[in-house]
Amino acid sequence: MLEYQFLEQLKRAFAIAKKDLRIYYKRAPVLIFGLIMPFFLFLAFLIGRNMPMEQLFTGLLGMTVFFSCMSIGPAIVPFEARSRTLERLVSTPVSVWALFIGDVIASFLYGFLISTVPLIIGLVLGVNIADLLVLCLGMILASFCFASFGVLLSAYPPTDIPSTVMMISNLVKFPLVFISGVFIPISEIHEWGRIIASFSPLTYFTDLVNHCIQESSYYPVFVDFIALIGFTLLFLIAAIKIHERTLPDRLS
């Protein structure tokens, strides 16, 4: 019975994900903060430097997965609160966890799909990927992790102004990019920098990408996977719990 209820709720979460993908993929804040801004950030990093293709690809992939998976998640709840569709969703027989898992699934699918573009470009340009299977598994896990992080970022404050959430989300996202070995490998930064980097989920994904492409990583692969799983669970549980708490404020 419980298993049936769980599966039924999961089906409803997928219905919410389908709705999110139909509505939010073309919203301006999603496109600006999820695709355009990181693209220009990457260009700023690239121009004028003589870097090997492998190192560039690692940075590009890390940024694409991170930004694209976190682009839809923060926008959904404030948009829905403002248009009063959130109230409609809450009145349906869908658990709060299923409601937000739906948002996470949408962010995950959107981000993962976009992230395959640089991967394919890399393969076409002849980037040597030593361990494609591990890279794909890592991308899936990291996409889910960052999607959960995105939904968590919209949990507090319980505002119905999307730009407020996007601003807060950027305040968190950009510093993380600079401390996570996207532009400079972790092994090359100071010890205090490495300590700070260990608190960022993006660190473990870029390390994993480094392992698969440049065949050198700071952490063992299993540590990267365990850390990503740990961050995913932490973000997912925190997102659901905090949204559960703040939901009445959004609806009142």
Binding site: K18, I23, R84, T85, E87, P93, S95, S252
Partner: protein, 310 residues
């Protein structure tokens, strides 16, 4: 008669304001229950609690024996709601809005498609089914919201001001469909401040003011119980001073309404006799003479005023 909705001691505070203040009522299975009150009386808050959108601070509510706080998913599975504010997904087509609701209620694919086809035809939206709801008028959005609510074939349907701001034709269509679904067994909880609508549709009415229930009864009983609201309306061939007629025995109040004078009384027969005597004595001819039962609006205003005085 079996109970569809049971509300016990329900209370909701917003800071220092008590939106719903220890209210109690029951809605019987199969009836259309009207929930009347002025703006800010607590109607929408009550509906939002009963539909599981917000939690009460005190009290309990059950829908078809499911406690909305303890078994919210089971309760929500058998209800549907048409909220006060239009809230369809404007970036989805009418069809996708309907399919989404069907999926969220677990309606099997074939059934939800069939039901959606029927409902869109019934509401005159079938030709616009693949258009984004963004381009719909208020009336069309309201019809779509009602379609979404009916797609799940609910046992209890909550309607919060369903015809507010609609043209006469759309409002009539919605009222006809409400009647039809009630005839098919759906219990309807209708929140409105439209007296005429409540009078036409409801089996019983609760009047709420300042978060408290002022009265519950059927519309006819509410009218009959209201003493002092019966009236006699008279017009003469020549102008007559209103204050002169107010001196007639048993008249509690006299009001000039157009070319007529309305006399409020508990004894209409006695007032009619007095009016005839008055006309004879003054050499006047009575042009028209009618006895009027209180309208629901009269009852409503009286109850609200009494309630304010409490």
């Amino acid at each position: 008669m079996e109970t569809a909705i049971e509300v016990k001691d329900l209370t909701k505070n917003y800071g220092e304001i008590t939106a719903v203040n220890h209210i109690n009522f029951e809605v019987r299975k199969g009836e259309i229950f009207g929930f009347l009150g002025p703006n800010g009386a607590g109607k929408t808050t009550t509906i939002r609690i009963l539909t599981g959108v917000i939690k009460p601070d005190d009290g309990a509510a059950t829908i078809m024996d499911y406690n909305i706080l303890k078994e919210p998913l089971k309760a929500k599975q058998i209800i549907s709601v048409v909220p006060e504010m239009a809230n369809v997904y404007i970036d989805l087509t009418a069809w996708h809005n309907l399919m989404l609701i069907g999926e969220l209620y677990g309606v099997p694919k074939k059934e939800r498609r069939e039901r959606a086809e029927h409902l869109l035809k019934d509401f005159g939206l079938h030709e616009r089914r693949n258009h984004l709801a963004r381009g719909f008028s208020k009336g069309m959005k309201q019809k779509l919201i009602l379609c979404m609510a009916l797609l799940t074939e609910p046992k209890v349907l909550f309607l919060d001001e369903p015809t507010a701001g609609l043209d006469v034709e759309s409002a009539r269509l919605i009222k006809d469909i409400i009647r039809q679904h009630n005839k098919d067994g759906t219990t309807i909880f209708l929140s409105t401040h439209n007296m005429e609508e409540a009078n036409q549709l409801c089996d019983r009415i609760a009047i709420i003011n300042h978060g408290k229930i002022a009265a519950i009864d059927n519309p006819e009983n509410l009218r009959m119980k209201s003493s002092g609201l019966k009236s006699v309306e008279v017009s003469f061939n020549k102008p007559v001073a209103t204050n002169e007629l107010s001196k007639i025995p048993n008249v509690t109040e006299a009001k000039k309404i157009g070319d007529k004078i309305r006399l409020y009384t508990d004894e209409p027969h006695s007032v009619i006799n007095s009016l005839i005597d008055y006309a004879r004595s003054k050499g006047l001819t009575i042009i028209s003479l009618n006895t009027l039962a209180p309208t629901l609006e009269d009852v409503f205003i009286k109850l609200i005023r009494e309630h304010k005085g409490d």
